[in-house]
Structures are given as C-alpha cells and as structure tokens.
Amino acid sequence: MPINRDEAFDREASGVAMVHGPIDTVRLLAAVGDAAAGGNVLFVGTVRGVTAGAVTRSLTYDAHEPLAVATLATLRREAIERFGLTACAIVHRLGPVAVGEAGVAIAASGPHRRQAFAATEWLLERLKQDVPIWKCEERGDGGREWAHPTTAPRPGVAP
C-alpha cells in the first residue's frame, strides 16, 4: 500500500509517508509550520552524482513498507517527545531516484532552533539504523549493488 504523493499528506494521522514519486519538500516544510514554532528545519537527502570519484547514475530504494512506516511513525513520536517539537514530518522515497532528486526529507519545528536541528539529525541517524529501507546504487560503469552494511547491527536488535 504505497502512499501516493497525490494522496493527502495527513500530518495529524501519522506525519510519515513512503512515496513512489518526487518528494514534495515544500509541502513538508509547510506541514510543520505553527505559530508556536520559532525554529523550522528541513533536511533533504539528495542523490549525489559522484561518491569518492565513482559516478552514480541513480539509486533504487526497496523497503518492507508496513514495517518501515510503523518504525518511522514510532521514531517521529519519540522525536516529538524527546526534543519537545511542535511538529514533525518524514517522507522517504521508494523505487528509482535520479541524481539530484530527493531520497528522504525530514521537517521538524520547535519553539527554539536547537530542538529542530537536534531532532532532525537524530531522526536521520535513527532512520539509517532502524528503518527497513535499502538502497541499490547504479553506477556509471554499469555496476549495481544493494547496500547491506556489514558494520550495522542486525535490524530489530537493540544496541
């Protein structure tokens, strides 16, 4: 059940989404706007064309969608509580993503800027460690490889 980008992004219901088309970062930032907020941070992770000299053509993301959405929702609630956020929204892309396009976007607002910065960075770290999403890099030389980091803890196992 992918959440289509044309469907309503329901901030109140969940604040998280997996999308198969371009991420609407403008909408994401607007979704966390609030008269009680002074600091609003939007992070957008885009596909980099060159990594350590090697050319990347595109990325493809795969995910266990229901578990990924549930995990993102839990992380979002934890971030709101831990950092005292006013609002928070997370969107991750699925399928192929071209160089320059966004693979992930996180928006957080809080009464003060430090809350929003800290929460956004924390969410990104946790997303990269805990959420069942995987990327495959298609390189300029035609090679492709799914990333399953050997240094990562086994998913679902508390550190």
């Binding site: 992770g45 266990h64 578990l67 992930v104 999403i133 995987w134 495959c136 399953h148 803890p153």
Partner: protein, 90 residues
C-alpha cells in the same frame, strides 16, 4: 504450487525477502515446506535451499507482521514473515 492456504501436510511458509536478498533469490518471496517450527528452523531451511544468501541471512532479522522476532519464536504457515537484512535507507 500450493497457493491455497489451508493446513495440510504440504503446508508452506511464505517469507518476504527484499533488496540484495531478493536479487540473489530472483524473487520477492521464498516458500518453505512447513510442518511448523521456529525462526531458527526457517533460517536453517533458507540457508540450505539458498546457500548464496547464507552470509547475508546470518546478519538479517526476521519480522512477523510489524514486529521483529527472535530465533526461538514459533512460525506457522500463513504467517506474515519477512527477512530483514542490514538496512541502508536515508
């Protein structure tokens, strides 16, 4: 073969696989003959039938529905089971 799901002595355990594991296996699901057992049993069967993923499997978790489960968790035919290899989103 047995796409119908009633209990019988040809019962199957259907396991969703993703990313690099799906690519090596050549599909989004595995089916194991299943007369009952635990996650540990499923691990042994997958490693036996698909040795090319044994290394990645050892670094993977199992999910039952939206919960991670340990090696001693029982699995039944018809359960929503998935293998979750090390993640790389973001």
């Amino acid at each position: 073969m047995h796409s119908h799901d009633h209990a019988c002595d040809h019962a199957k355990l259907r396991i969703a696989v993703f990313a690099g594991m799906a690519e090596v296996i050549g599909g989004r699901h595995l089916e194991l003959p299943w007369a009952g057992g635990t996650v540990a049993d499923a691990r042994r069967l997958v490693a036996g039938s698909h040795p090319a993923v044994a290394g990645l499997l050892a670094r993977s978790a199992f999910a039952l529905g939206n919960r991670y489960v340990g090696d001693d968790a029982p699995l039944a035919a018809g359960d929503d089971v998935a293998i979750i290899p090390p993640v790389s989103g973001g």
